[in-house]
């Protein structure tokens, strides 16, 4: 509890609530393929032919479910990015400055939000070619962060 200079009492609280979030069959396939083989899959809508990444069980626009799997290469184009200068240690373990980018994999119609690394921020530009870097096999857990980050195609610095 704290008290303001005007003697208004302010209670401190923290709600820690355990949750479980089911990824579902479609995302589970995507995540296990990522975990076990480092492969990336999107889904194509049979009606509008949009290829979504991450994959969707139903097409978000046409609302039909018979989407088909399309394997996507771990390469694409940086659509946009930001360099984050503030720190949120409880939520984001990265030390600022760090980079978020949206990378559209070749053959996909939507981008994937992820970290970008192995490049100085002032060398970043929209439209540059990127490739995915994956965690080592034994470190992958079936999470989107099994894809470690994107880096300039052909290897970044270090």
């Amino acid at each position: 509890m704290t008290t303001s200079p005007e003697e208004h009492i302010i209670y401190d609280g923290r709600i820690k609530m355990p949750y479980t979030w089911a990824a579902g069959k479609t995302s589970s396939y995507f995540l296990t393929q990522l975990r076990d083989y480092g492969r990336l899959w999107g889904t194509r809508c049979p009606d509008c032919a949009m290829v979504y990444m991450p994959p969707r069980k139903n097409c978000p626009r046409c609302v039909v479910t018979d989407t088909t799997w399309v394997e996507l290469p771990p390469r694409g184009v940086l659509e946009t990015f930001t360099v984050v200068h503030f720190s949120e240690p409880s939520l984001q373990p990265m030390e600022p400055p760090y980079i978020y980018g949206i990378v559209r994999l070749d053959g996909a119609d939507t981008g994937l939000t992820h970290l970008v690394s192995e490049i100085e921020p002032n060398r970043l530009r929209s439209g540059m070619r990127m490739e995915a870097a994956f965690k080592k096999l034994e470190q992958r857990r079936g999470e989107i962060t099994d894809l470690l980050y994107f880096r300039p195609e052909g290897g970044g610095r270090q």
Binding site: H8, V84, H85, E88
Partner: protein
């Protein structure tokens, strides 16, 4: 059974970074009493109440019930709505729908937030998809920064152009005794403020506020009886897009483009820059004040800096934006969209005091939230 609807009253709190002197319930009550006073009504005149906020900012998840002692909804029909950043505009549109249906004549709409009671970024992160989106775009800043980044690179927009938008709103905010931030800033001060998430700096972005807003909607017969000059609802439009930030096309704001097209077509607006008289834009950061006015059809893509630097959107300009100071001066999130509607109503009613734009016939209020969603409400001096 449906009926035309006008806004007949608006009330708001004096917005601050924190209001430790009141609980959320008491804060809500300040806005409710202010709106009733403005409309010269009592709570007995209210047929139904619509309330909303973003639950996770205060961690009270049954706000409709919890807030009855402040909202005046005791023994009345009551519903809670929450749609993220668009909550306030959703509330206004829902209040309009309630009255327009003819099932309720006088509807009290309340939006509120005590942003001081939680970590805004921690709370906003719970809006994102837990499997794919939550690890990355936590909070509001990076999701907006990638939009700004894509836009300025495409059109060669400068950070100074955006700073000029922040300067406009902060200058206007000095005219609004309810605004949280009432001190003007300069382009130099914006440019020198700390970089948060490139290219967004501290003075480019909205603050976090504690505050509440209440707007009273009435069907035509009651509106004419109760109010000498209602702000008549001419049209509304809503566009939602995808849920994941990565699906958004950052080169345009499709939701706003789609919404304004529907609204302009519906009421016959051909040249919005000339035909609209004032806009309260839900503009959470400065770069949006460039890109989004292009989406509204005020100029061609990439040409907004000229309008901004020429002062066309300043008070006294061709189409003043945000006479209230807008979201950059006050952002009590669940109230923010409703403040746009209330402030636009004041302009139509001629009751905006020191921030009044002369001779307002048409005022447009917008809402923004989620993964780039857009809401609109057009108000006018005569029933449409």
């Amino acid at each position: 059974m449906s009926q035309r609807v006008g806004i007949i009253g608006f009330g708001q709190t004096y917005h601050r970074s924190r209001r430790d002197d009141v609980t959320g319930i008491e804060l809500i009550n300040e806005a409710v009493r202010s709106a009733l006073e403005d409309a010269e009504l009592t709570i007995k005149d209210i047929d139904a109440v619509v309330i909303g906020n973003m639950d996770h900012f205060e961690a009270v998840n049954y706000v409709d019930t919890w807030s009855v002692d402040g909202s005046g909804a005791w023994m009345k029909p009551l519903i809670k709505l929450t749609t993220g950043g668009t909550t306030g505009s959703t509330l206004g549109i829902a209040g309009y729908h309630h009255a327009a249906s003819g099932l309720f004549d006088v509807v009290l709409v309340i939006g509120w937030e005590k942003n001081s009671e939680s970590d805004t970024t921690g709370a906003i992160i719970t809006c994102s998809d837990p499997i794919f989106d939550r690890f990355s775009f936590s909070g509001a800043l990076p999701g907006l920064a990638v939009e700004a980044s894509a836009y300025i690179k495409r059109y060669g927009i400068t950070e100074e152009d955006a700073a000029r938008v922040a300067v406009r709103d902060r200058t206007h905010g000095a005219n609004n005794p309810y605004a949280q931030l009432q001190t003007p800033v300069t382009v130099e001060e914006v440019m020198k403020s700390p970089m948060l998430s490139w290219p967004i700096k501290l003075l480019d972005i909205c603050p976090r506020s504690d505050g509440a807003a209440a707007v009273i909607f009435a069907g035509e017969r009651k509106a004419r009886q109760m109010c000498p000059q209602p702000a008549w609802v001419h049209s509304t439009a809503v566009r939602h897009s995808h849920a994941y930030f990565c699906d958004v096309n950052y080169e345009e704001l499709h939701t706003l483009e789609g919404a304004v097209r529907e609204l302009y077509d519906h009421v016959g607006i051909k040249e919005p820059l000339k035909e609209l008289d004032v806009v309260e834009l839900y503009q959470p950061y400065s770069f949006a004040g460039l890109k989004w006015i292009e989406a509204m059809g005020l100029c061609k893509p990439g040409e907004s800096p000229r309008l901004i630097w020429d002062g066309a959107t300043d008070m006294g300009g061709e189409l003043p934006f945000n006479p209230s100071g807008g979201v950059i001066c006050t952002n009590c999130i669940g109230a923010t969209g409703l403040l746009r509607i209330g402030e636009a109503a004041l302009q139509v009613m001629g009751r905006a005091a020191g921030r009044q734009v002369p001779d307002v016939n048409l005022a447009l209020a917008t809402g923004f939230g989620g993964a780039y969603w857009s809401d609109l409400m057009l108000l006018g001096r005569r029933p449409w």
